[in-house]
Symmetry: D2
Subunit: 389 residues, 4 copies
Amino acid sequence: MIDEVREFVREQVVPHEGLLLACDFDGLSAALEPLRLEVKRRGWWAPQVEREHGGMGLDLVTHGRMGEVMGWSPLGHYVFGSQAPDAGNIEVLTEFGSAAQKERWLGPLVAGEIRSCFGMTEPEHAGSNPTVMSTTARLDGDEWVINGHKWFTTSADGASLCIVMAVTEGDDVPRHGRASMIIVPMDAEGFVHERRIPIMGDEGAGHFSHSEIRLNSCRVPAENLLGERGAGFAIAQQRLGPGRIHHCMRWIGIAERCFDMMCRRAATREISPGVMLGSKQTIQNWIAESRVEIDASRMMVLDTAERIDRDGVFKARNQISAIKFYVAGVLQSVMDRSLQTHGALGMTDDTVLSFFFRHERAARIYDGPDEVHKAVVARRVLKAYGVRV
Amino acid sequence: MIDEVREFVREQVVPHEGLLLACDFDGLSAALEPLRLEVKRRGWWAPQVEREHGGMGLDLVTHGRMGEVMGWSPLGHYVFGSQAPDAGNIEVLTEFGSAAQKERWLGPLVAGEIRSCFGMTEPEHAGSNPTVMSTTARLDGDEWVINGHKWFTTSADGASLCIVMAVTEGDDVPRHGRASMIIVPMDAEGFVHERRIPIMGDEGAGHFSHSEIRLNSCRVPAENLLGERGAGFAIAQQRLGPGRIHHCMRWIGIAERCFDMMCRRAATREISPGVMLGSKQTIQNWIAESRVEIDASRMMVLDTAERIDRDGVFKARNQISAIKFYVAGVLQSVMDRSLQTHGALGMTDDTVLSFFFRHERAARIYDGPDEVHKAVVARRVLKAYGVRV
Amino acid sequence: MIDEVREFVREQVVPHEGLLLACDFDGLSAALEPLRLEVKRRGWWAPQVEREHGGMGLDLVTHGRMGEVMGWSPLGHYVFGSQAPDAGNIEVLTEFGSAAQKERWLGPLVAGEIRSCFGMTEPEHAGSNPTVMSTTARLDGDEWVINGHKWFTTSADGASLCIVMAVTEGDDVPRHGRASMIIVPMDAEGFVHERRIPIMGDEGAGHFSHSEIRLNSCRVPAENLLGERGAGFAIAQQRLGPGRIHHCMRWIGIAERCFDMMCRRAATREISPGVMLGSKQTIQNWIAESRVEIDASRMMVLDTAERIDRDGVFKARNQISAIKFYVAGVLQSVMDRSLQTHGALGMTDDTVLSFFFRHERAARIYDGPDEVHKAVVARRVLKAYGVRV
Amino acid sequence: MIDEVREFVREQVVPHEGLLLACDFDGLSAALEPLRLEVKRRGWWAPQVEREHGGMGLDLVTHGRMGEVMGWSPLGHYVFGSQAPDAGNIEVLTEFGSAAQKERWLGPLVAGEIRSCFGMTEPEHAGSNPTVMSTTARLDGDEWVINGHKWFTTSADGASLCIVMAVTEGDDVPRHGRASMIIVPMDAEGFVHERRIPIMGDEGAGHFSHSEIRLNSCRVPAENLLGERGAGFAIAQQRLGPGRIHHCMRWIGIAERCFDMMCRRAATREISPGVMLGSKQTIQNWIAESRVEIDASRMMVLDTAERIDRDGVFKARNQISAIKFYVAGVLQSVMDRSLQTHGALGMTDDTVLSFFFRHERAARIYDGPDEVHKAVVARRVLKAYGVRV
């Protein structure tokens, strides 16, 4: 199956990347529609979603392998109905949603008929410490009244619902138990989509965008609470484990794509008559180092996925932190080497490299910057040596 | 003077960067016009151009110091009439242009009334070996007939003339003596401006763009030859020496800007109540390493400039190669650290960081990639040990 | 079993390291004798040797795991009868030795009653190209007459035999088929042990030493040929595959030891009253990075071992090259970080760190330097893209 | 003069390095005696000492240049009477010594008739915070009674006096004002030379050694106080500024020596018939990178020396911290590349490389580890941004 998916991505999906690079999002989503139908026809849709909810029901390891293959193209996950943040939201709804919530939102989300977003990050607070949060929600009769300011709300543009993280509990509760998740329809009164944030020169649109949001006394019914009151961080944590596997495997797919382009370039670019770029030892160093680093990344991530499948997220949490910064670092190195191998061409939008270079720089930042994950890993290691730092 | 220029850049020029980040080039150039007039009024215009031709006539070292200050903003050089590729073209015209050529082109160029471009790089050939070139020019009566394909022709959009490098001599002449420079008015028959190349998601416009060009039996008068026949590479080489000083000092300006932003962020971003980001040792490492690397860069470049001022380009050529890759590397490190320090904000166009990050990645590529300069330096070193490699 | 071996190494072997650090080799080998007997008693002796020849007959993967545990101490492999170069020589004798050769040498070698060495590297030729070799052997009647100069002949001091690589075939044979292996008793006429080479200030002795050797018309019986004439490189290649697994797993053991020491130091060194060194983020970065790099190394090496066990050395040869340079690099980083964490103490012989630091620097050099392995990997990758470089 | 000194070092001093590598210290010092006499005869003795006290009286910049040239050999500074820790002790005695102290110690020290050491570092406390110190001295009548434990007391073996740093003031005084310097003759009662610490496998001897010391109620006359009571750290700080210039310039000398060896090796080592090692691009990268890093180092250090000459240590303190970690890092990189270029030969004591590799690893540790200096630089930078971290 993986081999067939790989071929599909390379033959059917990759040719549409030009529209992405040309920033034509409307044309792009129209062009991808037939591919999504074809994916559904072949039974590859929503690989991470349980079968009863309309997906393939793959375990983490198999989905990881598929994630790498989809990640070959920036369009892959979208075409397969496996795109963030819908994938994570579906997971949360499946596990914690009430019957009514599932009925209203889950089906259309899985089917790809609507899109969703996740409102967590706030510009005023460091992402490294998610428990510090200013957005609040208080019950006023049978409604939540939400006030707050979010940004990097991925894919908010055109989405139908936003799962908003807001502080609902008081200071008498420990920090980790103060926030809750609330489903906010995007057309709710007081929900303001301020702007698509221009990122690396490109504000994107639709699924391929990140927004700034304001909640000005935004009101939603009390039953829109998702899970328990105060369970927001616990659910988010649960969501992050598999989410990082998805990210890491997607990054590995990107790294493999960049690696392939680097090798192709090295094999075909003439630097003097009859002498190919690949004959230069510096390029050879980059190829060899990239090869081993990507392979090491894949082993680490799949091993972590296996651990999660077997023992759950909690027991694998240290490995999850470790792969987050390790694979993000490998990705950046490989992208940089591949770009350098392409010379001036690598700077242009004539290849997908420059898209990866500027957008995937964020890999070292979102879901916790490298520096935070390193500290987390080290602290756990040192605890075993009897010291809390 | 440098201090005044610095203040002017920070107070007057920087506030206009928003238009650049919003990709509004027409608005931008209109907005900058008053600043350019003010610069002329203050006597700071065209610092690198000799006094007799309308500039400040600074030596390389002083211009280097000013270049750093102008480089603080991506708009700086343009506002001061010191922007590439006009600066280099003015230099070439001054030194090698005929009286007629100077009369027609030099004045308006120096005055900033027209703009120019330089057609050297070709997509089919590695920039690492500039003597391999496909564009040809042959004399047909009293006209040059030029055929070729160029790209990364910076600022071609809206320029009035292009100095085109083309092979005019036959195989009987050694490689380095085959090409000549020819002045081609942009409205010449057969001169085709194909496109502004989209670079890192942004095709730019006007001065801030890079074009792909075709010369289809493009005809210009024989007297448009600039300098001697076959002297193209020699002139280009001459042009590159000071050009690299300009680039390096501009990069140092950018690095200082990124450094300043990193420190500001570290000093003001709260990571937990009362604790600033700058208290983290990783951030401190980045600040300390960046500080010393930027300082080392400045000393190296100014020392090279002094050497050129004193002994000429040829004697300083090894230092010129060395600073090219060294400073480009420092620039990339500092940009990367500063971006990481900003977290998600660094990815956005809310600051100038992401503009630098994606556009200045080219520093390691243009004017010869790092790898070529390293080989050049090493070969010269090894020659002193009696071996030619 | 691995756990028991680990405990044995830490409790029984490590305490003897002081003698090694004090350069007292005679005292050391006497002190280790009882441990070797105990190892034999427990059935852990010669883990890599087939059962029929007196070892444990472990597959590569299991032996790899045990190799890591033995590698915790520089004395480990010796205590377990698994030390290079005897281990490799035993492998070669087992597979290619004649009945007579086995009878004379194999038993005592496996039993650890005698020691052996392997004469391949020559000071006059780059190790990166082993087929360039000056040592020759010609048949004179029923004797080989060998002339040559070898160095880095590990453990020659006190060994009973040396397997010498010498050119026996003429220029009409391709380079890879010119050399043969010949068993040379160390007391053979013309075999000169010139010196133990002082390495990083320490010439060592006995098993823990590396010698320079001369063969001055050294004569041995014709039947001392090991394997076929001209098969020298083929056999050496065969030997190197598993040999690299052994090295890599030993390095991982060393890296784990250094990691453990780094964590211990971080957990116990007070930098100000009540504040431990491990609270510094730089140290935390080192711990986290080391943790993930060591784990990645282990996965890569065990996966390669599994591949060799399953498909043979030839099919795994690219992975073998990859782990060689990757793990050697990780080892050096981890050693360096651990040493820096120890401050001045790390420079002393009061811990085993400085022993590792200076002796294991060679990991990036022997059995092919990093640079050669990178080129090998890259060339194989590029061959798949249709280019030979 | 510098050129003559350079030639003298290369022709006269370098040939004696074999004795150092063979760990024969008695033979070594005897062999160097005639060289020291010759240096005195030529007027090059004690370049850093003021003329009135018997030296050359060079300013910091000139002495820096000479320090680089002397640093070419590990024997250089000793041969020129400029070796640490005597050089620093002479400086302190000159500036802070009483007339009686000068009379007794200064002359013989400058003349090289006796040697001295400096007792500051204690094994129980992190060198990163020198104000935490356990050694105490209390006045008992007209004698100081000193108790403490020191290590890394360089050149203690065979020295005549030790300048000991000890806490003399109580907790009512701020930390920085608690310690004093006291001159302790090595034959004082209660002064115990415990051992020469074996460092990287080598305990050294005489000048080339580092000792562990105990002071067991060691008694010296009250007038042995050097400078004011409580002025210990202030004097030490004063001493460290120029001391770091000396270290850095010596390191640059070492780096140049390693660079020269790397180039020589690259130019002469054949890797296949007629092809020199220097033709490999990886080696070329190392040569180019090393060249520019060493040049940058020299500029930074000489600029700092000039600043100290002009404005004093205090104003240059940030630059002093910066060069400390920057140059130590460059040194380690260059040594490592040079060693790798030499292959197995680089591991041996057949060249001076392995001596540098193991002993100069300490450059990143002593006089404050890299990490401390980086934090110091960053904190000063951030203070200008209004935050104290």
